[in-house]
Amino acid sequence: MSNVSHFTNGLVKSNPTFVLVLGTCPTLAVTTAAINGIGMGAATTFVLVCSNLLIAALKNVIPDKVRIAAFILIIASFVTVVDLVMKAYTPDLYNTLGIFIPLIVVNCIILGRAEAFAQKNSVFPAILDGLGMGIGFTLAITLLASVRELIGNGSIFNVKLVSDNISTFLLFILPPGAFITYGYLIAIMNRLRARYSN
């Protein structure tokens, strides 16, 4: 595969959110407002790129038998970095995302890419793969969050798009709305992919 396809793979063809359906916990939990999607996506992308880089660089040093433990340790270190940085510089976003920042550790996208890609490839493709997957994840959860924010609150990125006289459908901000919106978005994506792959 060329470098370009390493990058684009995560955007559409193997989009972690809509095609692989990985990392569903943060996808459902933090998508109450579009801005949270960007924040969560950026944090995850950072961890994904850094851990892919380090794992690809260390792949000949890490013994095969303890590789999963080593991967988790590397990922957890970068998550701690993100956790402390966000706590210091973006306290509001940090409070909204709450427990889901430390839980990036157990986001299956990251461990999945370490196992499936980074440990078999050299550093540069691993970075591109991490970037592609991370941006694919960010775009997908921001789309999901925008739909929920628009229906539930009448706004996107806190910009009011619906007049105040129209009552919004609050359920979409609440937990059931997360499941239902995500379900329909996957169904729509399946339909689109089926149409354009022929």
Binding site: V21, L22, T24, C25, P26, L28, A29, A69, I72, L73, A76, S77, V79, T80, D83, L84, I99, P102, L103, V105, V106, N107, C108, L111, L171, L174, P175, P176, G177, A178, F179, I180, Y182, G183, Y184, I186, A187, I188, N190, R191, A194
Partner: protein, 191 residues
């Protein structure tokens, strides 16, 4: 806060899967059959209670005195991975029948974000040791409860015709949404 409150909150009002979105992967992946859901649920109850016990002790007696609370994510994930391994080895030697039943579910628990999430939440809520263990056990039972409900519905759905695009994940998610809506009815049960 008394224990009954903690139990009702963890089990129904703030159900770990349907209200807090923790442990969605096994919820969608393993909930095909009632029997496998029970196996997974049993393993989670066991590991989650044990993990909360150990993380509480490690946090309060090692991390806090040393002033390195920021290391909690790394420490906790290592403890959970280690516990899962230990439980697996002990069960294999001493209770082979239970090991046979839980076998494949045990390794999966390391990446179940509910275990790490609940350990972190119990610390955040300043629970005592007993409260923390009660909270995690009730949460794990709530997880099993949601898993079994979902499995029961999905077993029935196998027999129905569904639109092609909705098969699999989309339909499961929408059912989960309806279940979650039903669980919202429990809010207000406890002050």
């Amino acid at each position: 806060m008394d224990y009954l409150n903690i139990i009702i909150l963890a089990l129904l009002v703030n159900n770990v899967v349907l209200a807090q979105f923790l442990g969605i992967c096994p919820f969608l992946g393993v909930s095909g059959k009632i029997s496998t859901s029970l196996g997974m649920g049993g393993a989670v109850v066991f590991v989650m209670a044990l993990a909360n016990l150990v993380t509480y002790l490690v946090y309060n007696f090692i991390l806090v005195p040393l002033g390195i609370e920021f290391m909690q994510t790394i420490t906790f994930i290592l403890i959970i991975a280690f516990l899962v391994q230990v439980v697996e080895i002990i069960l294999k030697k001493s209770v082979p029948s239970l090991y046979q039943a839980l076998g494949i579910y045990l390794p999966l628990i390391t990446t179940n974000c509910a275990v790490l999430g609940i350990a972190l939440l119990a610390i955040q809520k300043n629970y005592s040791l007993v409260q923390s263990v009660v909270y995690s056990s009730a949460t794990a039972v709530g997880f099993t409860f949601a898993l079994i409900l979902m499995a029961g519905i999905r077993e029935q759905l196998e027999l129905l015709g569904t639109p092609k695009g909705m098969k699999g994940f989309p339909l499961s998610l929408i059912i989960a949404g309806l279940l979650s809506m039903a669980f919202m009815g429990f809010s207000g049960l406890v002050k």
